[in-house]
Symmetry: C2
Subunit: 605 residues, 2 copies
């Protein structure tokens, strides 16, 4: 099993650890120190050795920052975690502060005297983050100072888990579609064109994509923790713990890169600087440490050049995505059929249902991991957008309630991510009406056509209009980019209020509008979609794109109010269900096929 359901532990040792941290503050002459939930790569998943924030505070959310002064301490979390944080953290030690509206910089300005000094680990903050913080603190003369050693690590000592040594494996060309040598050649051409002599890659999924390798250092995200320097001339250098490189990986990598230990980074950067090379770095993702190390040299500040080519899936990756979604769709059909039988008999619970889903994915023999911890929320738990079920929160699926399940699989040929909301027993008319509004938003995105240059921000309102008309909305983006057997959250493309990246053919994005009634139920309907050129539009004057929906799983017909759908919306739903039946039906055994046939039957207006 890839998921655990342990309840969060209360942070019994926080008090003692905080005292020790403060002793170190005083010893080093600092007035405050920052403890972010981050590792050296600024990724979403963090290995146990880097979970310093959880070690100090008990808080295990996927984003957060503790700020500790000699006399005060605060834990800054976003809206997703305002419920969870106080359950995990000793609030007599740490004030819980929501960002936004609060800002750590303002808190520091309020707490500290003019001229105070704040320590931070330059490996754990991006250049842009430190830059912004320094600017905010400057008017009061508060200084940021980079620490050579992380004080948490000193205190943690031998109890600190070892860094991960997950083996690196080649990612076969039949999945990757483009040889690593070709990707490297294209990257070098681009660097030349964009006036850089070298680029430092700090994001593991960029490196995994570029070199056609995968790893297993963190949960659910098959990447190796590593850095790379690609120079326009000469062999690229991969900085990685050699213990992760077995024979197969070594053979694959030998022709592509020199393998060096991470400790060699400093020296190699110093050499580039001494040679006057123009070194490209992404201030939004690369650690402040790199900028400090190259200070005085020629730094080209620009976005990670792997982001866009990685986001534009090639034909092989697209074929892989379709195959993965067909496989995953059959799993979901079996799962939903099972759930309907099961919930008819005796109430299942959130953990049991999530385990069954993971079991069925495992039976495909193709599952490498789940793509994130399954969100399995019954009744009011469904209204918690990033709900993670534990033994403490586990809830039965009761008649008259909705059940929301958001999950995905990591397969060699693709990463999936799907959310369905189903009725347990009989839903209320309000549930049906709101489900149908969410579905209208989902269909409005799925059917959108749009010209070259259209950004995610331009499509986001389509997902919301039917909710807005009823005075409703949802407080998350409509969609995120998805990798190809890589991170389930992949930039730069997304569909949201902030989505300024133009969509391009080959990008895979989620389409997941929702509606959440606090304390009652949650609805989210998520398919992955592929951006494609739209063909066959008579009289078209603009180069136009549209989406192919990749996910093949029925929506719960019991929750659809056909009368609220327009003719075109109903036609889309029936055509989608007919396609699900056509493509997934043949993959199922008799009982599940019968269920699918009923679940995909056309609805009348």
């Amino acid at each position: 099993m890839f998921q655990s359901y342990e309840a969060p532990q209360s942070a019994g040792e926080s008090g003692q650890r905080l005292r020790q941290l403060r002793q170190r503050l005083i010893k080093r002459g600092l007035d405050a120190v920052l403890v972010p939930r981050a590792d050296e790569h600024q990724g979403e998943y963090v290995a146990p050795a880097s979970q310093r924030l959880a070690w100090l505070t008990g808080f295990t959310g996927s984003a957060g920052l503790a700020v500790v002064t000699r006399s005060a301490a605060a834990l800054f979390v976003d809206g997703r975690y305002v419920v969870q944080a106080p359950l995990q953290v000793d609030t007599s030690l740490f004030g819980i502060v929501q960002v936004p509206p609060a800002k750590p910089s303002q808190w520091l300005l309020d707490e500290l005297k003019a001229g105070a000094t704040v320590g931070y680990d330059p490996w754990l903050h991006t250049e842009a983050g430190i830059d912004e913080l320094a600017k905010a603190l400057n008017p009061k003369g508060i200084k940021l100072t980079a620490l050579a050693h992380n004080p948490i690590d000193t205190i943690w000592g031998r109890q600190r888990p070892a860094p991960p040594k997950g083996p690196v494996v080649p990612h076969a060309l039949k999945y990757a579609g483009t040889a690593a040598a070709d990707k490297l050649a294209e990257l070098k051409t681009r660097l030349r064109r964009e006036d850089a002599d070298a680029v430092v890659l700090t994001q593991p999924d960029s490196i995994a994509w570029l070199l056609n390798v995968r790893g297993s250092d963190v949960a659910h995200n098959p990447v190796p923790l590593a850095f790379a320097i690609i120079t326009v001339a000469g062999k690229p250098e991969l900085f990685i713990d050699k213990d992760k490189i077995g024979r197969e990986a070594r053979e694959h990598l030998a022709a592509l890169v020199r393998i060096l230990p991470p400790a060699a980074l400093r020296e190699r950067l110093a050499a580039l600087k001494a040679q006057g090379k123009r070194v490209r770095l992404d201030p939004n993702t690369a650690a402040n440490w790199f900028f400090r190390t190259l200070r005085g040299g020629r730094i080209v500040r620009a976005v990670d050049p792997c982001l866009l080519p990685k986001a534009r899936k090639n034909a092989t990756e697209i074929a892989g995505a379709r195959a993965a979604h067909k496989r995953d769709g059959a799993v979901l059909a079996r799962f939903l059929a099972w759930l309907e039988r099961e919930s008819g008999r005796e109430a299942a619970d959130e953990i049991g249902v999530a385990q069954q889903l993971e079991r069925l994915r495992g039976e495909t023999q193709a599952l490498k991991d789940i793509s994130f911890d399954t969100i399995s929320g019954a009744g009011p738990n469904g209204a918690i957008v990033h709900y993670r079920v534990t033994t403490a929160s586990n809830r039965k699926l009761l008649p008259g309630e909705l059940y929301l399940v958001d999950s995905g699989g990591q397969y060699l040929d693709g990463t999936t991510d799907i959310t369905r909301t189903v009725a347990i027993g009989s839903p209320t008319p309000e549930m049906q009406e709101r489900f149908t509004r969410v579905l209208k938003g989902h269909i409005a995105v799925a059917t959108a056509r749009f010209p070259t240059g259209t950004r995610g921000i331009d499509l986001d309102p389509f997902a919301r209009r039917a909710l807005w008309e009823a005075g409703l909305d949802f407080d998350h983006g409509t969609g995120h980019g998805v990798g190809s057997y890589l991170s389930v959250h992949e930039g730069p493309q997304n569909i949201s209020r902030r989505g300024m990246t133009a969509l391009e053919p080959g990008m895979i994005i989620s389409n997941e509008p929702g509606y959440y009634k606090q304390g009652a139920y949650g609805i989210r309907l998520e398919n992955l979609v592929l951006v494609e050129e739209a063909t066959l539009i008579a009289g078209a004057e603009r180069n136009t794109m549209g989406f192919e929906t990749l996910t093949l799983v029925p929506f719960d017909r019991r929750l659809v109010v056909a009368a609220l759908l327009t003719e075109a919306e109903l036609a889309w739903l029936n055509a989608y269900h007919a396609r699900v039946w056509r493509e997934i039906g043949p993959e199922l055994g008799a009982a599940d096929r019968d269920w699918l046939e009923a679940a995909t039957r056309p609805m009348a207006a």
Copy 2:
């Protein structure tokens, strides 16, 4: 008549003027000089005395920049003016360059040697503009130098028109709704709250709004050219040519401000600087001169604080807008009825039709000015988005073609702006289909409901979706803010790809999607809409807003394909027409009323 239809003059004297300018360049040791289409207030309309770009190049468009070096010269214009500019400008003297994609900074980098010096008039560029340009030129060591005297003025000499002395008049409380003293008090409170001791206002419409005055220094925009300094304590200062202030204005202003000549600005700013006052300035609208003058002092860079309160119309202004639109709607009904009769007899032409429209507006006895030069485009001229008809381009309205008219009036109680597209004779099915798609976009905006925080960028896609579905689009924003007997283009609110300002109740915006078939016809359908709280949504959880359509003029039913409209869209159109009939019908004489009755008859699906 407020509009002239003169054809652009070819710039016969450009060669000589350019030679003289180059002599001055050499004399002053400059390598280049900038000649923008701008005055000291960065407004859309510029008085003849400030039309230096037109004097030098012959180009009369509303935006442009000439850059002159010792050996080369270029005129930078945006896409609206790529056709007009080469007709007006001697292209053997000035290369015409389209921005974007080109940038003046790149052109200067290409043309000039490292270390070169570029002169500019600090009164004619915003701080943000100079800042951006300086940054772009910096890598090559090219320096910007502010000129104490504009070299064009020296050459222009006695031929240069005198600066305008349009009389200032009080804007009555029955139109303004809020007393100037109250607006000033609120502004002072806001300055205090936002940590400034003073603000410098440089935009004439901000000053006109704040002091409840209007002026007549530039065409179509009833503002006085003036500056103001508002301090949190003490009497505000208005910097304006005293000749503009008659008895009535003096009495109105006496209690509100001290009146000073514009030449006193420098001294007053120096005093604020010497006193260590925090002076607020808007880098996006205030001239670089202000920042230079206050350099070394405490400048608070922030948006013009009048923008948002001016944009949020009060109840009096809203009532005024409704009255102005009713008056203007009756004018348009009479005009469209006349046009149908006229075009049945003998072909009218673009100028004659525009003159008739101005004449009818004038007959209301309430028209103070037109709100911009009427766009009167028949057939292919309708496809030119910012078409300005002249005796040279004047075209007959021919059967089988479309006619597009975009116009507005300045009334004491409000500013109007409306576009209608009508069929002359029988339209083609393609024209009807595309008109209907534009109408669908118009209706999608008019009927939108949206929660607090929604920005114009979030509504813009609704205007385009029906066009996108057919592979079509239009290359301008969907809507701009509109003032209250002020500028017809008013920020900060708009509906466009760049509209990041949240919409708020009381804002007036245009809703004007279009479609343009180059060389054939243009379609634009424009109403003004008012942002309002949406009431009576059962079960609403969010504070929701919507639009009230202010403009009351029928859409040409002959161009509507009812079968392409959804039930809801057709219901909106019929309800809108019923409302137009109800509100405008009683204002008309018998013949025009008969026309309106037919024009507003309900359409069947």
